[in-house]
């Protein structure tokens, strides 16, 4: 039985994401990568916390002046929900239901796009409303770097899931691409994990002052 | 740079003799401590060196035994030993004990050296000096005495001197090896510490210690030296009042010097002050204060203090300190102008 061989519902293994050696390697390697990403984001968080509200003079806005809860809440809901939809997609992947998986993945992508749109709007708003630009202060640089790095992850995640969907649109599921879908969904969850800390540490704690 | 090719051999032998004595120059070496801080550090160095030499000897003994006893002589297969718990316990516990012996005084000393409570007390009469480091020169402000001087730090002996350290451009590090370890001058904040200069041992070192910049700060990092005049409290007080007496720029003594003063007032006064009061904020003090330039021990921290070197410096500072902030900031000077300036600057003394 080969990785690219056509399987049926009956022959589909219980953990398709880890049923070949190649898949196991990919799975593990990706998790290790996420361990590294944890430290990467920790560095950015630590930098942000050290530079929070560090501005050259009082004409600059501080965290408590610029953030708005409704916007952040909406973005959070979009991203949290997309996490659930990608769980659904993996549920169907495990049950060898390709079509359903694709549907849920599409919803995930749409939610992700919504989140991204909000973030772009938000940055744009800060720049025009508060002159809070990437170069205006250390605080601003740290804020845009941390949140922007996350946004870049979202963008990359979207591109990745889309690429997988297009590539495998005609092929259906097999043991070669199932781990790829699975790993991409892990990535998506990880982005969500990071966001939980961003909305807590950056936005909510920013509002608290 | 100037070359110093001759005498190399002779100085080599001379210094080889010093190597044997092993401690370096009294005005520079950390192995010739001349104050309380350096003493504490030297004691720690000695303690750790004893421990380390002990460790090395133990390792070497086993090492030599192995070398002589277990070379391959025949084709026998030695016994495949798995390990030994008792041995392992020994070489885990003994190092831990040794490290504890070292750790306790280390922690104690670290806290002792960081104790600057006295300087922050209201109306304490501790001597405080604000050190400001600039690309390749040092600025010293005595806030209570309301005087500023540069390059040559003047301190009283046998009392704690407190320092506020900050950099005005890039990070440097303030270090007087014979008197105590260094502390960085950061761009972000003020660092504080204290030093104590021992009277007797300062005398032995000629009352002049060498200070260094210890953090890479650009091309002339190697040349960012300063000197420390450690003198008794009486002499120090005399120096302070002599400095304080200079309210206005000193009048030139000779005609030539007066010429020099004119040139100075035209080209140089924009950067260099010749009065010691500290009306300007530290950020505005962009060049060494020259009030007591005539009393200095070196020019720009490195050159011999005489007219010839001074003229060389003024002619082309770049050859002596690459990348310094003075080069190219004033018009070219003629030989006459140089003579006049040298005469004037050398006359800038507050004491004789």
């Amino acid at each position: 039985m080969q990785a690219e061989e056509k399987l049926t519902y009956e022959t589909w293994p219980a953990s398709p994401e880890r049923s070949t050696l190649e898949a196991k390697n990919k799975f593990l390697g990706f998790w290790l990568f996420l361990g590294g990403e944890t430290v990467l984001f920790a560095s950015l968080f630590a930098t942000y916390l050290a530079l929070k509200d560090k501005v050259p003079d009082s004409s600059h806005h501080l965290a408590k002046d610029i953030f708005e809860l409704p916007l952040t809440l909406t973005a959070t809901m979009l991203l949290l929900t997309s996490s659930l939809t990608s769980v659904y997609a993996m549920y169907h992947m495990k049950n060898f239901a390709f079509k359903k998986m694709m549907v849920w993945l599409s919803i995930t992508v749409l939610l992700g796009l919504g989140f991204l749109g909000l973030e772009i709007y938000e940055f744009n708003h800060y720049v025009h409303e508060f002159h809070h630009t990437f170069t205006s202060s250390a605080f601003a640089s740290a804020f845009y770097s941390l949140v922007g790095f996350h946004g870049a992850h979202v963008t990359f995640g979207l591109g990745w899931i889309l690429a997988l969907m297009f590539r495998n649109y005609k092929r259906g599921l097999n043991l070669y691409n199932a781990p790829k879908f699975y790993v991409a969904s892990l990535y998506w969850h990880f982005i969500d994990v990071v966001w939980v800390f961003i909305f807590t540490v950056v936005y909510l704690m920013g509002m608290v002052g | 740079m100037k070359r110093l090719a001759k005498w190399r051999l002779i100085s080599l032998f001379a210094i080889l003799a010093l190597v044997l004595s092993g401690c370096g120059q009294p005005y520079l070496s950390a192995l010739r401590p001349a104050g309380e801080v350096a003493d504490i550090q030297y004691d720690l160095m000695k303690l750790s060196t004893y421990i380390m030499v002990g460790v090395i000897i133990v390792v070497l003994i086993i090492f030599v035994l192995v070398f002589f006893r277990f070379r391959r002589k025949d084709d026998k297969i030695p016994k495949q030993v798995e390990g030994s718990h008792s041995l392992e316990i020994i070489w885990t516990v003994i190092p831990i004990l040794l490290l504890l012996i070292l750790a306790v005084p280390t922690v104690a000393a670290t806290f002792k050296l960081a104790d600057v409570k006295e300087m922050d007390k209201k109306n304490s009469n501790a001597l405080v000096i604000n050190v400001r480091s600039h690309l390749y020169w040092w600025d010293f402000e005595y806030p209570k005495q309301k005087i500023v001087t540069s390059q040559d730090l003047v301190v009283p002996t046998n009392e704690k001197v407190y320092f506020n350290l900050k950099s005005m451009d890039v990070k440097h590090s303030f270090w007087i090896p014979a008197v105590g370890g260094k502390l960085d001058t950061n761009t972000d904040n003020v660092n504080k510490f204290w030093l104590k200069f021992d009277d007797k041992r300062a005398n032995e070192a000629g009352n002049l210690f060498y200070g260094k910049c210890a953090e890479l700060c650009g091309p002339s990092h190697a040349l960012m030296d300063f000197k420390v005049k450690a003198i008794s409290r009486d002499k120090f007080d005399a120096w302070v009042s002599a400095m304080q007496n200079v309210k206005k720029p000193q009048k030139a003594q000779t005609d030539l010097a007066a010429q020099g003063q004119d040139i100075f007032n035209k080209s140089c006064i924009g950067c260099h002050a010749v009065t010691p009061e500290n009306k300007m904020p530290d950020t505005a003090r962009v060049a060494p204060n020259l009030t007591n330039f005539g009393d200095r021990s070196r020019i720009a921290g490195i050159l011999d203090h005489n007219k010839k070197e001074l003229k060389n410096w003024l002619k082309n500072p770049e050859t002596y300190k690459p990348g310094n902030e003075m080069s190219g900031k004033y018009e070219k000077l003629t030989e006459d102008q140089l003579n006049a300036l040298a005469e004037y600057l050398m006359g800038l003394k507050v004491q004789d």
Binding site: T20, L21, L32, L73, M77, Y88, F197, T200, L204 | -
Partner: protein
């Protein structure tokens, strides 16, 4: 370097069990999702109601964030499942280092 599936035997009896297990797991996931949404609202609520002191709010919302992340990791990312020993070891090492770093940056970069 083989691509052979490691569990190739796949008797039919398993299937029903597996489907049920997947569905059951999905139910847990929906529950944890609901809880996450709930926690999020609580966190936002605590901040929106301006009454509490920062000394309460900050630790509280941080705690909520951690709880949420545990849900993500263990339910959504299946970290509780078998075969995740190495991943969780490395992930938690990462988390540990992350905590040290944040702690350091909050205490010894201070001016």
């Amino acid at each position: 370097m083989t691509n052979q599936p490691l569990s190739s035997s796949n008797p039919r009896v398993d299937l029903e069990y597996r489907r049920r297990k997947n569905a059951e797991e999905m139910r847990y996931q929906v529950i944890s999702f609901t809880l996450m949404i709930f926690l999020t609202f609580v966190a936002f609520g605590v901040v929106a109601i301006k009454g509490f002191t920062a000394w309460f709010v900050v630790p509280f919302i941080l705690l909520l964030a951690c709880v949420q992340v545990v849900f993500q990791l263990f339910y959504f990312m299946h970290m509780s499942h078998k075969g995740h020993e190495a991943p969780s070891m490395f992930l938690f090492t990462g988390v540990f280092l992350a905590m040290i770093m944040v702690w350091a940056f909050m205490t010894i970069i201070w001016w």
